[in-house]
Symmetry: C2
Subunit: 329 residues, 2 copies
Amino acid sequence: MTTAIAPANIAFIKYWGMRDAEQTLPYNGSLSMNLDACLTTTSVLFDPALESDHVTLTLYAQPPKVAVGRPLERVVAHLDRMRALAGVTTRARVTSSNNFPADAGIASSAAAFAALTLAGVSALGLAMDERTLSRLTRRSGSGSASRSIPTGYVEWHNGDDLTSFAESIAPPEYWDLADVVAVVDTQAKKIGSAENHHLAVTSPYFGVRLEGIQQRLDAARTAIMQRDLTLLGTTMEADAVSMHLVCMTQSPPSFYWNAGTMAVIHAVRAWREQGLEAYFTIDAGPNVHVICASGDRFIVQERLEALPEVQFTLVNRVGHGARLVHVND
Amino acid sequence: MTTAIAPANIAFIKYWGMRDAEQTLPYNGSLSMNLDACLTTTSVLFDPALESDHVTLTLYAQPPKVAVGRPLERVVAHLDRMRALAGVTTRARVTSSNNFPADAGIASSAAAFAALTLAGVSALGLAMDERTLSRLTRRSGSGSASRSIPTGYVEWHNGDDLTSFAESIAPPEYWDLADVVAVVDTQAKKIGSAENHHLAVTSPYFGVRLEGIQQRLDAARTAIMQRDLTLLGTTMEADAVSMHLVCMTQSPPSFYWNAGTMAVIHAVRAWREQGLEAYFTIDAGPNVHVICASGDRFIVQERLEALPEVQFTLVNRVGHGARLVHVND
């Protein structure tokens, strides 16, 4: 049995819109940091005695559940990709567990498919460099999972199947940032990101978003290299707003923001005027990721938890990428 | 003494961005309905004994206040325009009162400058057709005031000083709609619309908004002509979102929406799925105007007032334009 751990990640420059569903190719490059406290642990055992793949998922604070339906199909399809590379047909037993609440709106599929890919590839004994591993992870259908493979701050390049991979641009210790996730809604997402990845092109504003992406990618990369929080923060907020306005103007429109989202946005902007340097970004859901210097993370957490709209928070620093773990049998 | 009453109005297709500040020319045409229950009453008396203009403003449920500073300057500048047309220099005594709460986020300047223009022009004995009156009202600096001159459903045309006027496209009785204003914030606006009218062009998305305006104007006009609430509503929501995304992407960004705004947006969308046909639009503030068939206005009001984020509501039907009133002395 081979076990891997992979982090969730939060994008400063978002992946939004899928150019090629077969290969999971994006319309634009994206840039993220791994979350050190939001992890998925996945074990894979290829067992010739099995007649079909068997997948058990353990969400945080819940009993294990056997995967069926679409979640199972996605895992099987990804195992099939790995089996094809290894030239085998052996079925696998997969167990996967998250250490963070499933209802926190943290994209758990990124961590899950990164961990599955690393564990599966290792279990099959495939030699694979990080670039190839991130490309294979990308093809799982969860494109942002490719960013959970390399360590620290990660850029996922736009390109074709060969050139669209993720790579680290700086290790976690290069710059000690924090992501304090303000959870304002624990209900399941009503609108999956998959559907909206396809609808993005129906927004008349999508083209302008893409026109600005390269400038924002360059600015965010430079900001990380120079440890410039002001530049990173303003760039990140502009990109998040841009992604959400694409959703709000697609056909039919989709509104991920809710009352709590706006309350946190306004609070963060007000704190900044008072001298607390923190910035917001929002993924395909209502919860808000507040990015700040790691030294400010507890004051940000305290203030967020004082807002009536915030149910709880999760504090992350910059995390490592996917890695194998040795489990004592 | 001459007294005029003028309504506030709510735009289905918004005026956003000022192309010419001297003439108050917009970047695009706009389309609105007058609000029958949100009125400003203004009296003007030109008095040779006065050495300067004297302006008293009475806001709803507040004692009268003598205008000073910028509000006084704007009234004086507009009186100067009228005096220049009449070839006089006589100063005026102006009293103006609103029948709706000043903190409801209803654009009171539209009603105020429409009433001032009609009362002033009449007091000076100037013969002026409605088109000329709306052009003069437009030049007050409150461009949307030009839409409060004609009756019912009104379109304000883009153009130059001569061709940018407002005209009625249908009287109030043509289609019995209601605007239930959900007041979620009674604090004074932090960001005036004047500044953002100038900043709109700094948004990279402003051009796309303008590209779509003609199609939306045509759709909204057709919807009114055909009494098609679905077409009017979806068009109106798209235009409001488009205006606000321009604000959120300008430099520096501006966020009018707050927690209550998003709560009402989601509520209205959910009610619609349940069969209650209502649509939202939002001006330069957080409060939400919910447009529905007049027959649904009380159920919409009841549901809005049941939302914890809504402080109170104002119910309007389609109103007449500015008119002179005869006051018993």
